[in-house]
């Protein structure tokens, strides 16, 4: 059974503002199974990020339907959709978008700030997430005291701290050099190896090729699909993150 169902999704910007409408998505349909690592590739302006935000319950499509784990996302109210994002989704942004005035561990705890859980438990979960991405020893540092790769891994830790079933990553290596980009990709691949469903938007064919499946986009529509590298599930207790901090 598909975990994510995207049916005939279209998005037109400016349609309700009275300006000249711009269609950025048209008739997009695909499914993702639980545990899959899917890459979304395409040139700039092809609608990748828009599609990611539509799947991420942040951008109401003009037409079509998005269902995650059987939940019709856009049938939910605005506030319930916020709850859905907290419970089901983790976001990794290209610029990481870390809070510069919060420490690493506080940044990771951000999705838990609205959850009624004891602070100690929140901190333990955040530390565990930091540990997963190899940043356990840097918990007290501010984002500007971390390297680019560390910031990318910190953004991933924040995205997975609430154990979301789906991780959405929007070109997380786009602003990084090859080595630090590799750090971030390794973490994503390792998480996927543990069963994390990942939808990755990328320009980078090498990164896309490491996904289990690649969806190609052009001019707001799916132009095709190719198979990537088959992923193997991680063995129980296996150390996934090998990049040193």
């Amino acid at each position: 059974m598909s975990f994510i169902v995207v049916e005939n999704v279209g998005k037109i910007y400016g349609a309700s503002a009275g300006g000249a409408p711009a269609r950025v998505l048209a008739g997009v349909s695909f499914n993702i199974r639980e545990g899959e690592f899917v890459a979304l590739m395409g040139p700039s302006g092809s609608g990748k990020t828009t599609l990611l935000t539509v799947v991420g319950a942040m951008n109401h499509p003009t037409e079509g339907r998005v269902a995650v784990d059987g939940i019709d996302v856009y049938a939910l109210s605005e506030e319930r959709r916020a709850d859905f994002r907290r419970e089901y989704l983790g976001f990794v942004f290209q610029q990481h978008h870390l809070m510069p005035y919060l420490s690493a561990v506080e940044n990771v705890m951000l999705p838990l700030a609205t959850v009624r859980t004891p602070s100690r438990e929140k901190r333990e979960r955040a530390m565990a997430a930091l540990g997963k991405v190899g940043l356990g020893s840097l918990a007290a540092r501010l984002p500007n005291q971390l390297s680019g790769g560390e910031q990318g891994r910190l953004a991933i830790a924040r995205a997975v701290v609430n154990a979301p079933p789906l991780l959405l990553a929007d070109e997380p290596t786009g602003a990084l050099d090859t080595r630090t980009g590799e750090e971030v990709m390794s973490v994503l691949l390792d998480l996927n190896a543990r069963g994390q469903t990942v939808l990755l938007v990328t320009h980078n064919p090498d990164n896309a090729a490491r996904a289990g499946r690649v969806l190609h986009m052009r001019d707001g529509a799916l132009a095709g699909e190719t198979a990537g590298v088959p992923r193997r599930p991680a063995a129980a207790g296996e150390v996934l993150m090998t990049t040193s901090s």
Binding site: M58, R85, R86, E87, H97, Y101, P111, L112, N162
Partner: protein, 430 residues
């Protein structure tokens, strides 16, 4: 990690901006507190002094037959027995629930008597109460204290040939010149001690030439003559109440009772109502002119303070509004991230409101302290008695509430706007 953690951390990040907001709120609240404290203290002082100025309630018998006029108040004719008041009525006035608000209760009996072939109106009074009530009286000679002594109004004394211009100043007019005249407004702002001092220092433009006066066949000593007041008392002859009751053959009877009520904190109408209830046979009237004059003076001060406070608080509100609006623009991406990771709109409002309310509370507390200190320092320049300054916990609470209200209201729109940001657009904001 709570939403408050984010708010507090963001405040620490923007220390200078937070300090600016605290200063803005503090200045607004300090101004309001200082003006409110000063205007309230001055109002109380004016109220007290106006209360001392004279009667503001007059109790007269209910009667359709009105023949005498005293101090602008019509009084039932002495010739009619109907509707007269009694000494007991004056005593009962002291039994009303607001008795503690009654400064002076001055009973009087008025009547026409023969004074050496001339008819004069004699007023039987309790001199002690009368002096307390008529603080602007200036007596040439002595104040009557015992039985058989009179205080004669200037015009009556002149008509009865009791006075003549002072020998050393015979060329000057009988009445004091304008520089010596004390008008009502001056009286209103003078303390009792100042009245007494003025009375002692009053220039004597006339002197008493005859200190004996026979009223209806009974001889009295003219202890003193009133300097001209411009009022009805200039034409009256004052004697002890019991003596006049005896002279007019009306033992225990009264024509009217003048009451000075301390009405700072109570409506004079309430006291009027209570006296009327106590004395169903009497007509109780408030001298609205004095009350209104006081209310107007107090009201203008309060309005001035309120207007200036409102302007300053409005400026503080605009400062918060513009700063918060700027913060929303500056933090658009952060807000988008928070929305993306599951913050509801209400969570965004809460986070931003917490920041504003923390700043407002601090500004309110500092503003109250600064305002209280300023009013303490400025009080001697605005108040003759220097009284009135005291730490008022209610005002502190009000200042804090006002600061929070200004902060909340002025940041409401930008905060709501922040909560309505489209998360997908916000995270792409440059």
């Amino acid at each position: 990690m709570r939403i408050s953690t984010i708010a507090w951390a963001n405040l620490r990040r923007r220390k200078s901006r937070a300090a600016l907001l605290v200063a803005g709120v503090a200045i607004g609240i300090a101004t309001a507190v200082a003006l409110l404290t000063l205007s309230r203290s001055i109002s109380e002082e004016i109220g007290l002094q106006l209360d001392q100025f004279g009667a503001n309630i007059v109790v007269v018998p209910k009667s359709d037959q009105l023949a005498l006029d005293y101090g602008g108040v019509a009084v039932a004719a002495a010739a009619f027995d109907v509707g007269e008041l009694t000494d007991e009525d004056a005593r009962r006035i002291r039994e009303i629930p607001y008795a503690n608000r009654l400064a002076v209760v001055a009973p009087k009996l008025l009547g026409a008597v023969d004074a050496g072939g001339r008819k004069v109106v004699v007023a039987g009074v309790d001199f002690e109460s009368e002096y307390a009530l008529k603080r602007w009286w200036r007596v040439v000679g002595e104040k009557p204290e015992g039985a058989g002594e009179l205080l004669v109004g200037h015009d009556a004394a002149q008509a009865l040939g009791l006075i003549e211009p002072a020998a050393e100043d015979a060329s000057r007019p009988l009445a004091p010149t304008s520089t010596n005249t004390v008008d009502a407004s001056q009286h209103a702002t003078m303390s009792a001690e100042e009245h007494a001092a003025m009375s002692r220092a009053a220039p004597q433009h006339f002197r008493i030439t005859r200190d004996r006066l026979t009223l209806s066949g009974r001889e009295f000593r003219v202890a003193g003559v009133l300097a001209p007041t411009g009022g009805r008392e200039d034409a009256l002859v004052f004697a002890g109440l019991a003596e006049v009751q005896s002279l007019l053959n009306r033992p225990g009877r009264l024509s009217l009772v003048e009451v000075s009520a301390l009405c700072k904190d109570c409506p004079v109408e309430d006291i009027v109502g209570q006296i009327a209830q106590k004395l169903p046979g009497a007509k109780v009237s408030a001298l609205q002119q004095a009350v209104r004059a006081r209310a107007e003076a107090v009201g203008r001060l309060t309005q001035f303070g309120a207007a200036v406070s409102a302007v300053v608080l409005l400026i503080a509100a605009l400062l918060i509004f513009t700063t918060t609006t700027g913060a929303v623009v500056e933090r658009t991406k952060e807000i988008g991230v928070m929305r993306a990771v599951g913050f509801r709109r209400a969570h965004i409002v809460k986070e931003m409101m917490l920041e504003v309310l923390a700043v407002s509370a601090l500004g309110g507390a500092l503003g109250w302290a600064a305002g209280a200190a300023a009013s303490w320092a400025l009080m001697p320049y605005f108040s003759q008695t220097g009284r009135g300054f005291e730490v008022d916990p209610a005002l502190a609470g009000l200042a804090l509430f006002a600061a929070l209200a200004v902060g909340a209201l002025s940041s409401l729109y930008p905060t709501l706007r922040a909560s309505r940001l489209d998360p997908s657009e916000a995270v792409r904001h440059v």
